[in-house]
């Protein structure tokens, strides 16, 4: 496998991860918190109406999870394609 096609496949996989995670990002915030919030409000969880919960609590929790999932997936991908940053700190 040439270096060039390796880089290309690494980049395609990265884009796939980014696209999937951004879909989730959009769904929990703009989707559940704004666009379909009225429909979700028909359900309640504890004292929360569901759409309201997504807008003021849930979306933020999911954002955190998205970033850690991305960091995990990319660390694995970096190692698989042998492009990770092995030298931890720069030498002085």
């Amino acid at each position: 496998m040439s270096d060039r096609s390796k880089r290309y496949r690494y980049w395609r996989r990265n884009l796939l991860y980014v696209e999937l995670l951004l879909v989730v990002w959009f769904l929990v915030s703009f989707g559940c918190g704004i666009l379909f919030a009225d429909r979700l409000d028909a359900f309640t969880v504890g004292g929360f109406r569901l759409g309201f919960w997504f807008a003021q609590q849930g979306s933020i929790y999911v954002f955190v999870v998205i970033i850690f999932v991305y960091a995990f997936l990319m660390n694995r991908l970096d190692r698989a394609f042998d492009v990770d940053d092995r030298r931890g700190r720069r030498s002085r």
């Binding site: 704004i34 666009l35 979306s59 970033i67 660390n75 720069r90």
Partner: protein, 565 residues
Amino acid sequence: MTVEAWTFVMVGLSFTLYIGVAIWSRARSTGDFYIAGAKVPAVLNGMATAADWMSAASFISMAGLIAFMGRDGSVYLMGWTGGYVLLALLLAPYLRKFGKYTVPDFIGDRYYSQTARFVAVVCAIFVSFTYVAGQMRGVGIVFSRFLSVEIEVGVAIGMGIVFFYAVLGGMKGITYTQVAQYCVLIFAYMVPAIFISMLMTGHVVPQIGFGSQLADGSGFLLEKLDGLSRDLGFAAYTEGRKARLDVFCITAALMVGTAGLPHVIVRFYTVPKVSSARISAGWALVFIAILYTTAPAVAAFARTNLLTTICDTPYADVPSWFERWEATGLIAFDDRNGDGIIQYTGDDAANELTIDRDIMVLANPEIARLPNWVVGLVAAGGLAAALSTAAGLLLVISTSIAHDLLKKGLRPDISERKELIVARCAAGAAVVVAGYFGINPPGFVAQVVAFAFGLAAASFFPAILMGIFSQRMNRAGAISGMLVGIVFTAAYIVYFKFVNPDANTPEHWWFGISPEGIGALGMLLNFAVAWPVALVTAPPPAAIRRLVDDIRVPRGAAEAHEIDA
């Protein structure tokens, strides 16, 4: 001990801590000064980013803002957190690999253009000054309200502290002081929130108390709050009033603006590796989310408390905190019908009470009758939030002047020693200017916050994004996109905020999008102009395409700085 004595103790202790940290971590090279030598561990960088990001407004004003806006306050909660997802997935890792010092550095190099660099520098300085004036004002307000010193004295003390660690320590000093400031501010925010949650709902965790039954058996907190609001003629708390498209656009503009703010982006240059840039954005959001998921709970608690203790109460029987804050002008009672009873209602003609939103956080401990030391802690927390953000912004200003304008522009042959001196002088001068605006706030400060996000959304974010994800994007495309985005967004905001403020109502807005949300449209325009222009002009040189190839791969980021440092 009295409230004032406790406040002196808390503020004094926290300031001693910051100065100690600043002396321990002072900068020795331009690399230290601009990006802390790129050696900050990811978790600590996350903490510093959180403190950098959460300003006096987040700490003091946000919960109050939500308490009055109810559901519509969600735009701030989602907007100011969702941007970190964009940062972590789309910008931070690549900018870290690029590995220079500033955002204008990236724009200037990637688009092989001094003009693009210059436009970026001007935007960065404008955005940062807008922001920093508000922070200095916040410092003055906290001092004057809690310690009854003049606002000018308060601002001067704040300037002195920031001067000390920003000028001496640069990014390195700021980073480690911000870590300390984060600890102070989150402790100061959570203690009253936990107390109040336990008092009202019996739950230790405010995020759970928020959705629980009230301890006095009167049903769910939010249901009671909806009922109270309706009875008094306000809209129900959990129902929105803003148009859906406007909510959508404001949220989008705030998210994209957050991801494009230079003082946030530059934090990701300070970590050792690309992988640490990704994870550090995650940690930053964890630390931010602790406050941002607590704020709406605090808002609902405070609003319920306020409505139940104040409404239809005879003025003679108001609690002591009411009189104390009346003296500061934050709360005012005007007995229009002369019956001596406080009528607080959504009907403007009959309403007798005006409340500043800041009181929701500042007076909350007193409203909930918490011990005096908690009140002192809130003052120290508000100062930590304001100082940490001010320092981060001042650094962007000084770096823009010393590095982007001087080293990369007017005087490329300047030695590192001289550049460091200039950077320190620029930081010093910026502190003085910021202090001046803190003491004499231009009336437009509150208005121009929309500017900061709108401009970042319409200029930086698209330019950086296309610079990373497209190899075809060239100088002509990026510059024309930035200019159109900036001019459109600025014109819309200036028209509705300054030229014709009377027309600033939904009927006159384009598609019902408010000036706060117009940055989202500005961003789309930027993309829409940049693409066709790039396609009909010459592609970027081969060296630039290699640069883009290179920043997409993590390996080698650790060495990137050695050329410059």
